[in-house]
Amino acid sequence: MSTQHVLLGLLAGGARHGYELKRAHDARLPRARPLAFGQVYATLARLQRDGLVVPAGQERDGGPDRTAYALTDQGRAALEHWLGTVEPPMPYLASTLFAKVVVALLATDVDRARAYLTAQRRAHTERLRELTAVKTAPTASLDDIVAADFAIAHLDADLRWLHTTLDRVADWHREVHS
Amino acid sequence: MRPATLLRLAVAGTRTDTARVALTALSATLATLAGLAAATVLAIPTQVCCGGRNLSEQYSNALLREPGLRGGTALALLLLTVPVLALAGQCARLGAPARDRRLAALRLAGATPGQVTRIAVLETGVASLLGTLVGLGAYLAGRELLDRPDARGRLALPTDVLPPVGVLAALVVGLPLLAALVSAVLLRGVSATPFGVVRRGVRERAPGPWAGLLIVSGLAAFASFNPLLNWYQDRHRTPPVLLPPLLLLGGGLAALVGVVIGTGWLSYTAGRLLHRYGRGPAALLASRRLTTDPWAGSRTFAALLAAVVVGAGAAGMRAMMLAQVEVHRRTGAVEDTDGFYLRTMDLVDLAVGVAMAIAAGGLVVALVEGIVARRRAYAALVATGVPRGAIGRSIAWQALAPAVPAVGVALAVGFFFSRGVAGGPVRGGGAMVKVCDAGEQLCADPATRAQHVRFVWVPELTVFPDVPLGQLAWVGAGALAAVLVTVGVGLVFLRSSTAVEELRTT
């Protein structure tokens, strides 16, 4: 995921400084990996270098330097372009899950692969249940629900794959070793 | 499509479809038999002999012997086909939703509307043809078996004549063609769209007051019958030829249609009353079904109500005849035709009974179809703990709430019909009458009778015919018993229709 573009999007509403950006990011994308401060400042520096954002004043109230940043016209154009671009649907199969099952079949036997798949299925199911609990909590906001939905849909897809692969693993092993 | 494929698809169905085919064939058989009987009676040649009375002396039954009565007999036999056709109509609805879905599936699989129609038409046509052929066979066999002259060489039934071959062929081939045509018309909706089942909007419109108007106009026609004829008579003029049949047939038809349509109104009103005042879920379920489709009652009870109207009319006629006999007895003018007419009424009553039994058969089919069509919802209710008894009670409510008042109306209409036709009080006397005032033995012997006969003045007297409450009650009770029996049969089907397995079917 492009942190650059997310930050550009968060700046679209007006100038903000780094700390505010991190807060906004974590609130709006609740299920995403939390953004580290270092990453925010590094990204902002890169955006400034490319002319997409400019510093828009400084404030200092007791704490560290707080530089606010604002979008440039070029930055706005870059954001527009990004939003208008369709993401390529799964160009490469880049799942550790998949790779691990293949390696298990190549390196060990069916039972090992099956044991891994079963354990993974259990872990997935647990996570699915956690996310569902988050989603159905009376206090859940729409941000939470939409984010949980996204994760649930992916977990669900993985789980379906795990189910069918468990049933196919013996045949698959035979094919790999023939 | 090859004929073999066509036939294979036409007979590919469930048990319900088999039942429908069998029942269609059965009603075709019954209709053929009734039609053939009527044709045979009409085929009796009128002989010119015996001093112009043209009697066909080879028969023991006066209905067949007298040419004047044969038309009526044939008409009565033809009228028996009415409940039979109603039964056939009900049978066509049996399992119809499932068949419509199957045909729609064929359409989705690429069958043209024509092909689908041909499949369905073939089913009905072949079933009816089988039925009519069986009917013809039964008729021919019956002719051989029942051809038993009595001691005086007279026949009980006209087994010595055969209707013209043309009439036979018309019946045997015409009935299936008619049935096929009707089914083709009924299937237009399915063959037009491959999705067959269209979500039907709920009909919430109350039936209009047309039923009441029809009944009232019918009754008015009956009531005006005698006064009108008397009016012409008083002025020594002959009424227009068409007037009497127009009044009787038109009035009768209007009243009959009114009774049948009125059942829709009665269903609707009974449903509304039940909804407002009824207690418990059974009443609620029944009331909503009655108001949602009030015409279901009209459709299902039509044949039964027609039989009740005829039965009540016959009861009224019998009361008139009894009054006539009473007048004859009191005035001493006993006629030997009295007994004959009363025996004829027995035959009419028998026909009414048969018609009611056939109508009850149609009722069973309609009720079971209604239950089977709702089996998912019923099974779900039973699963949630609704006792089958409650559902059974709702079905009983639903049948009886409109049936009881409708039978009452039908009884009244039939009775007033007979009053209109036969007039009110019977008058007699006011004339000199020959009376034999000796013992029965002396009067019976022509030799001695003459000595004891004298003329007496019999004063004018009027006998008011009884309202035959007893007989009307019997007709009504018979009709309601038929409804109750059908409800009982329906409840047997309810058990299998509410099995848990029904929740898995779509």
Binding site: A133 | R288, R374, T384, G385, V386
Partner: protein, 233 residues
């Protein structure tokens, strides 16, 4: 505490075995999902637990009492008073309005019509379908129908709600809305739920999962330590 249990339940349809000895314990207030591939006997287990079907062998107990030996009438009464049942579709009476459908179980229990209607409206409101109270099922969407059916299943405030693929005929969003409300209300009322589904996503609404395979319990998924809402760690 075990509220409802099956012990070695065996059930066959003719010569086709559906359950080959299933043992399941359901605690009070628990939401249990019964899952597994189609034909594994999920629905049959639900029907046995709910006392709709009688097992060929084994026991079904409700609060320690065997109910599989009870008469049909007694089990009907139990279902009517203590259980609620929800199916995939087609369970509403087509001729009755939504409110009347929901009020039906109360009327059966002898509640007056006015009281029953008020309760029905309350439950329709809770499930967010108060606007279709006087509409018949044929004119509602699938989601609305299922929510009415849920209201009907919950209106008697049952101890246990049995749901057999309640979202099977719905699209994702409608199914989620039905299930979210069902689970929320069940937790509020501390109603036990036995939820049959073949979808992992739906099973995730439960505290615990019982996976059936060929008529036997394949495995039982562990529940969360904190099954209540907001239990993300």
């Amino acid at each position: 505490m075990t509220q409802l249990a099956a012990r070695g339940v065996v059930k066959a349809y003719g010569r086709t075995p559906a359950l080959a000895g299933v043992t399941v314990d359901v605690a009070e207030g628990e939401i249990v999902a019964v899952t597994g591939p189609s034909g594994c006997g999920k629905s049959t287990l639900l029907h046995c637990l709910a006392g709709i079907l009688r097992p060929d062998a084994g026991e079904v107990t409700w609060r320690g009492e065997r109910i599989d030996t009870w008469s049909e009438g007694a089990r009907s009464r139990l279902r009517r008073t203590e259980f609620g049942v929800l199916f995939q579709f087609g369970q509403l009476v087509a001729e009755l309005t939504a409110a009347e459908n929901v009020a039906l179980p109360l009327l059966l229990a002898g509640t007056g019509r006015r009281v029953a209607r008020t309760a029905a409206l309350t439950w329709l409101e809770r499930l967010g379908v108060a606007d279709v109270a006087d509409v018949r099922p044929g004119e509602m969407s699938g989601g609305q129908q299922q929510r009415c059916a849920t209201a009907r299943a919950l209106v008697t405030e049952p101890r246990v709600l049995f749901a057999d693929e309640p979202t099977g005929a719905l699209d994702t969003l409608a199914g989620e809305q039905v299930l979210t409300q069902l689970v929320r209300l069940a937790r509020e009322q501390r109603t036990t739920v036995v939820l049959v589904t073949h979808e992992p996503r739906i099973a995730a609404y439960a505290d615990r999962e019982v996976v059936l395979r060929d008529g036997l319990v394949d495995h039982t998924g562990l529940g969360l330590d904190l099954p209540l809402a907001g239990g993300h760690r």
